[in-house]
Amino acid sequence: MAAASAEEAEGAASVRAVDEAVGETSDLKAIATAVIEVDDVTKVYRMGSVEVSALRGVTLSVDRGEMVAIMGPSGSGKSTLMNILGCLDRPTNGVYWLDGVEVSKLGDDQLAEIRNKKIGFVFQSFNLLPRTTALANVELPLLYSNGKDKRKRSLEALARVGLAQRSRHHTNELSGGEQQRVAIARSLINNPSIIIADEPTGNLDSRTSEEIMAIFDELNREESITIILVTHENDIARHAGRIVHLRDGVIESEEVLTP
């Protein structure tokens, strides 16, 4: 239903790489398994008297277990969209359904709860607490959900990203790739169904980027975690099953990749 209206909204302007037959079947699948559905979402930033339209009507549906890459030139609204998808921000207009809940209507505390439990966010600049151990950083979300076995779960999460032996290190003593792995461990701690990653490899060299992508691939493949990531690099985007191209705040095109 949402996918159909998305097609209408985009109209002839958007170049769809998806062929009609695949579109039909994915429509049915979307009804059954779409975990994220945004419908005609806009975002307007007001800076004094100047208004900036960062998003101008984005309609997108992401299935459970999908890995989607979002690409587009700088300033096209990728981060703005990710912040909305990650429940860090609210759309100015439009509707966002997450797991059947209309989150565009929720209050700050409810959004905080969703960020804590359902979504793992990975940033380009890692956003770890400095002068704090890797372990304490990974534990941080548990502090706000009164989780049990904090230590044990955090160590497990660090082990999943291959950093168990570095748990006592302060984050500023770690390399960029290690820091990003700590951030991924932190995003995994509450077993989220979705990971939102805004240029997760933007600050890393290509070899480290591949290591990080290997972790994402494994999480997506083995645990069916839905992953949406922003990237400027085609090599990184190739890991996804679908690439969404954004330009000037609207979806310009989508391409489905066959593995």
């Binding site: 940033f123 941080l140 979300p141 706000y144 959900s145």
Partner: protein
């Protein structure tokens, strides 16, 4: 977020900036220390003076001529001398005033006194033998007045210790002669000192038989020749019966003086004096306390200042916490805990400082060699701690709510 975690977090944040935290705490330490120190000194002085008053006897009531109306002084106390020795005898009747155990009428008359080469200006106090016992005067030398002296209107005198020192520096007062108002009196005793100097000196008087004094001075008798008295001291069997005594004495005097309206006498007890005095010392305590309170306020502003700085420095941290699910109240609690830990640790250290201050004060000796006791009572400590906690809360709430209100995206983008 559970409180233990919040406390750990606050301690970690505060120890990350040890010097800054210590200086902030110092403001509260000084404030709380000043409150505790000054209040305990105030309490100490109050209790010292109260106990001195009580040492005279809290079981005494004093009847004076003249009335005080409720609107203020109507007739000055003692202005119209309307009490007589007969009134005192009536009060002494155990069937009328059942709770009285002793009655001592008294007349004061200021006069110069000469003895040998020395002279002094003092109170001549006309009394009966009961006086000494009732006001706890004991002879250091010789004896006090007897009933015979009173009945015979003997010209004998008992000297208060300070008068004795002035008139007889050699200490050989007993048996000597003193003269006042052209009358000569033989000294039969010297009283031991009650202590305390200055205007409240209770050893600066000469006691003579009431009858002797009033027979010599026309003004101390009524037109009908009755002996006037200025104070009737009444000892009551126990301090709980003070009010009963006051009523019974008033009943006797109203009947004797045929009073229908306003009384022409006033009955006071030491409790009234203590109450009046307590009021004065309480005002003093409040005054000292509010001076100390101002320094506490300054300390609180210091906390607020540091918390605002701390929030600004940690905007990115707040953004990260919010991004991983911290709610407003979590951030609020985090910063409130920090300001509370600052102010409460300041409070605890301040109690120690106040205690040291009052110890120092109490070991300081006054001009007469006496030390001033100080009292740190639990209520002062409870007050100081709750004020410190209140300050942490009050001055912490604004910075904390500023932190809590931050938008996660903007906080994350903050450099």
């Amino acid at each position: 977020m559970n409180p233990l975690e919040a406390l750990k977090m606050a301690l970690r944040a505060l120890t990350a900036n040890k010097l800054r935290s210590a200086l902030t705490v110092l403001g509260i330490v000084i404030g709380v220390g000043a409150v505790i120190g000054l209040m305990s000194i105030g309490r100490g002085i109050e209790s010292a003076i109260t106990s001195q008053i009580k040492s005279i006897g809290s079981d005494l009531v004093f009847v004076r001529p003249g009335a005080v109306s409720q609107q203020g002084v109507r007739t000055a106390q003692g202005g119209a001398v309307t009490l007589t020795l007969e009134d005192a005898r009536a009060i002494a009747d155990p069937n009328r005033v059942t709770v009285a155990t002793g009655v001592a009428p008294q007349t004061n008359f200021p006069s110069p006194v000469v003895a040998g080469g020395q002279n002094a200006f003092t109170q001549i106090v006309g009394v009966t033998p009961e006086y000494f016992d009732m006001l706890s005067y004991t002879p250091a030398d010789g004896e006090t007045l007897s009933q015979q002296h009173v009945d015979a209107r003997s010209r004998v005198a008992v000297l208060g210790s300070s008068v004795a020192e002035i008139l007889f520096p050699n200490g050989d007062a007993v048996g000597q002669t003193i003269s006042m108002r052209q009358m000569r009196f033989r000294v039969i005793g010297v009283l031991s000192s009650k202590g305390g100097g200055g205007p409240g000196n209770m050893d600066d008087f000469i006691a003579v038989p009431l009858t002797t004094l009033s027979s010599q001075l026309q003004m101390l008798r009524t037109a009908r020749g009755e002996i006037r008295v200025q104070i009737i001291n009444v000892k009551v069997d126990s301090s709980e019966n003070i009010d009963i005594a006051k009523e019974q004495i008033a009943a006797v005097l109203r009947e004797r003086h045929n009073i229908i309206g306003e009384d022409d006498f006033t009955i006071t007890s030491l409790n009234d004096l203590i109450a009046a005095f307590t009021q004065v010392t309480q005002i003093m305590s409040i005054f000292l306390g509010s001076i100390a309170g101002i320094s506490l306020l300054v300390g609180g502003i210091g906390i607020m200042n540091i918390m605002l700085v701390s929030v600004t420095e940690r905007i990115r941290e707040i953004g990260i916490r919010k991004a991983v699910g911290a709610k407003r109240r979590d951030i609020l609690a985090q910063f409130l805990f920090e300001s509370m830990v600052l102010s409460l640790s300041g409070g605890v250290l301040g109690i120690a400082l106040g205690w040291l201050m009052s110890k120092g004060f109490s070991s300081f000796r006054g001009p007469t060699g006496q030390t001033t006791p100080v009292m740190i009572t639990p209520d002062i400590i409870i007050l100081a701690v709750s004020v410190a906690a209140g300050i942490g809360l009050f001055f912490g709430i604004y910075p904390a709510s500023r932190a809590a209100k931050l938008d996660p995206i903007q906080a994350l983008r903050y450099e």
